[in-house]
């Protein structure tokens, strides 16, 4: 958007949208008029013939470019028609335009979906941008003087003349603490991310960002009687059924991810309620039994009678794929887990599918993560620190991690006996994770560390906490932190949208229907984790719908081979090159001696811990980012992936 009304270059816009062709390979469109230039790469899913973009309203006073889906578009369309709106297409895109005409910027509160869009309001000379509530779809922007440049991915912004490509050390610092940068900051200087649940209005070179929705976990800790519990279970299942139903709306076939866990098995079971055609399901399996869940996947597949296909992933494939994965994540990662999902989306696409439903979001909103359980035990123990029995519950943590299970009780107690500064009590649940991750910053170079200082007040997150946060139960606070930061910043992006869209695959997430999220956020805490049973209410809902073995198994988080995949011959050459002392010194982010010692530890086959793995993956992915986006962008830095 140009503040002075100048015409944007059509050629530049074409180049930018070409950069995002993986997000929408079916069709591209560009619209330029004084004050604005819009471009769109289309993944055709609804109204294949009529849904081209950028799209305008009847008198061309409004133009939209939109990535995503509005799942309640049929109901909204009907209401708008009754109010006299005339539709030229059957698309959900046009529904947003008419809804904007009707409701103005409040239109977003009526949408049930996943979106990033920009509407050019010609008469007001105003650009209105919005991103969905939970942050399923990405939206970035930057300024060149008073001109706003925006796009679904940062790589497109870098093609606009005058946009600098420099790492933001503070953004990197956040990734090496929280696993993600905290919006609006990204790991690139001057490039901003519109936070989930926010809209932005830009007029005459000035932007106003405004939240329209916020997750608020306000469930109480009271006891729930049996009748009330049944009532909650029924309501949750009804909501999930409807959330799944509207996510099947597409003019192309919809498939499903089936991980072998409770969440995706349940969403798959719900899809089966609505489809008479055979359902295609897809999963990742691993050669390494430590990570593999294929026995459960096959059980679910047999029970639900789906046509199932799995991609069996090796450490070598992960190592070989990582450069391309980082090209798509546009931020460092600390675990290799996005790589197998990148390979999975390729299989989905090669099978002719471009839409999949997955179980993402259940762990955050219904209390499935280990971090919730760990915090609950730590709190319980802290209440009576001299109790001999309470710390024995620590044995219940991380049953799938041999190195924790093989510890003596004395050491287990020592590991989880984490003192939290009273000033940081708001982050009780997350301090262990953040402190562990921040240890990785010891690999930063002296100059990087000097520039960053040693602030550990978690100010970026403190600043964004809702006013009522301190009154919420600790369990709810932990859920909020996961939903607000890790979910959009890592799970839905590096492990979600970015690696799925790398192969033009769209994920849809019934658990992240805002009605389900709002319902879950008000549930009594005991229905999320009953004693130490995670996702208690969801397990109850799933009774009879999925195999008992899947329903009652303990949660095994999705993990993949880590550092070993980067020492595999398939990756070793680029890893050794990017981590060579000369390269490390030149790029200036890490300390060459420390990196060399870390690599040496891997090379000589020493016992490798969580921190070692995270360090290596974090350093390699940061170096890949620098290589691809800073040093070689003009020469298509993705060359390593070739």
């Amino acid at each position: 958007m140009t503040a002075g009304g100048e015409l944007a270059s059509r050629e530049v816009l074409k180049g930018m949208i070409h950069m995002l062709r993986h997000r929408g390979p079916d069709e591209t469109g560009v619209h330029v008029e004084p004050g604005v230039g819009l471009a769109h790469a289309r993944l055709s899913i609804i109204d294949l013939a009529g849904g081209g973009q950028p799209m305008h309203n009847e008198d061309s006073s409004l133009w939209i470019t939109f990535n995503g889906e509005i799942f309640n578009y049929l109901e909204l369309r009907e209401e708008l028609i009754q109010k006299g709106h005339v539709f030229a297409t059957r698309s959900d895109t046009e529904v947003i335009l008419h809804l904007y005409e009707e409701k103005g910027e409040d239109c977003v509160t009526y949408l049930n979906g996943q979106w990033a869009f920009a509407i050019w309001d010609r008469n007001r000379r105003r650009l209105f941008l919005s991103r969905d509530r939970l942050g399923v779809r990405p939206l970035f922007y930057t300024w060149v003087g008073r001109n706003l440049v925006f796009g679904s991915e940062i790589k497109a912004l870098f093609l606009y003349p005058g946009v600098r490509r420099e790492l933001d050390l503070n953004g990197l610092d956040e990734v090496f603490t929280y696993w993600c940068s905290v919006p609006p900051r990204t790991v690139f200087q001057g490039v901003l991310e519109l936070p989930p649940g926010n809209s932005m209005t830009v007029e005459a070179g000035r932007a106003t960002v405004r939240p329209y929705w916020e997750a608020a976990y306000e469930g109480d800790c009271g006891v729930v009687d049996a009748a009330k519990e049944s009532d909650y279970a029924e309501q949750l299942l009804d909501l999930m059924i409807d959330a799944t139903r509207i996510r099947l709306r597409a003019d192309v076939p919809v498939g499903a991810y089936l991980s072998g866990g409770l969440d995706s098995t349940l969403t798959t079971a719900l899809i089966k309620k609505f489809t008479n055609t055979r359902l295609r399901t897809f999963s990742v399996s691993f050669e390494d039994a430590e990570f593999d869940e294929s026995p459960y996947q096959r059980e679910a597949m047999r029970f639900l009678d789906t046509d199932h296909q799995e991609v069996r992933v090796t450490a070598a494939q992960i190592g070989a794929a990582l450069p391309e994965v980082i090209w798509h994540t546009e931020k460092p990662i600390l675990r290799t887990a996005p790589a197998p999902l990148f390979l999975l989306s390729k299989m989905v696409r090669d099978s002719g599918y471009k839409v999949v439903i997955t179980g993402e979001g259940a762990d955050e909103i219904l209390g499935g993560y280990d971090i919730f359980k760990e915090a609950k035990i730590r709190r319980f123990w802290r209440a009576q620190p001299n109790s001999r029995m309470r710390p024995l519950l620590l044995r219940r943590l991380y049953p799938y991690l041999d190195k924790i299970q093989n510890q003596s009780d004395a050491y287990r107690k020592a590991f989880f006996h984490i003192q939290v500064d009273p000033a940081l009590e708001a982050f009780f649940s997350h301090i262990p994770r953040w402190q562990l991750t921040a240890k990785l910053k010891s690999f930063f170079s002296d100059s990087a560390r000097a520039e960053l200082g040693s602030d550990s007040s978690y100010a970026a997150i403190s600043a964004g906490l809702p006013g009522r946060y301190s009154s919420w139960p600790g369990f709810c606070q932990a859920q909020y932190l996961e939903t607000k930061y890790l979910l959009p910043g890592y799970i839905l992006s590096s492990q979600g949208d970015r690696v799925a869209m790398a192969h033009s695959v769209e994920g849809r997430f019934p658990f992240l229907d805002y009605r389900v999220v709002e319902f879950a956020s008000k549930l009594p805490v005991s229905l999320k984790m009953k004693v130490l049973d995670e996702k208690y209410l969801l397990r109850r809902c799933a009774k009879g719908l999925i195999p008992t073995s899947v329903r009652t198994r303990r949660k095994q988080p999705y993990r993949a081979p880590e550092g070993s995949s980067l020492l595999d011959p398939a990756a070793r050459e680029y890893v050794e090159e990017l981590l060579s002392p000369a390269r490390i010194r030149r790029d200036g982010i890490f300390d060459p001696q420390s990196v060399e010692k870390l690599l040496d530890k891997f090379r000589r086959g020493a016992a490798i811990g969580i921190k070692d793995n995270m360090s290596l993956v974090g350093i390699v992915s940061t170096q890949l980012l620098v290589h691809q986006y800073i040093n070689n962008f003009d020469r298509k830095g993705i060359a390593y992936a070739a």
């Binding site: 590991f415 001696q593 811990g609």
Partner: protein, 83 residues
């Protein structure tokens, strides 16, 4: 190489990756300083076995024996055959 120095070298190379050597006092707790995680304990145990032939028993797997350079040195000395 004196025992304390040898233990320090191992900890520095394997857990600190060459950094902070000077800032780690012999009495500093590895746990409090966030130097050792669950794998680190197993690494230490493997090192004591390989380097000194000490087979660490389960009841010896406690921070009092392993959680600082001083503690380690005391533990190793107590297990090594006396001349």
């Amino acid at each position: 190489m004196p025992l304390n120095q040898e233990l320090r070298q191992f900890v520095t190379d394997n857990f600190l990756f060459g950094k902070n050597n000077a800032s780690l006092a012999d009495h500093d707790s590895f746990l409090d300083k966030g130097i050792i995680d669950s794998t680190g304990v197993l690494e230490l145990v493997a090192f004591l076995d390989e380097r000194y032939g000490i087979h660490v028993q389960d009841h010896d797997l406690v921070p009092d024996n392993l959680d600082s350079i001083d503690n380690l040195a005391r533990f190793v000395s107590s297990k090594l055959p006396r001349n």
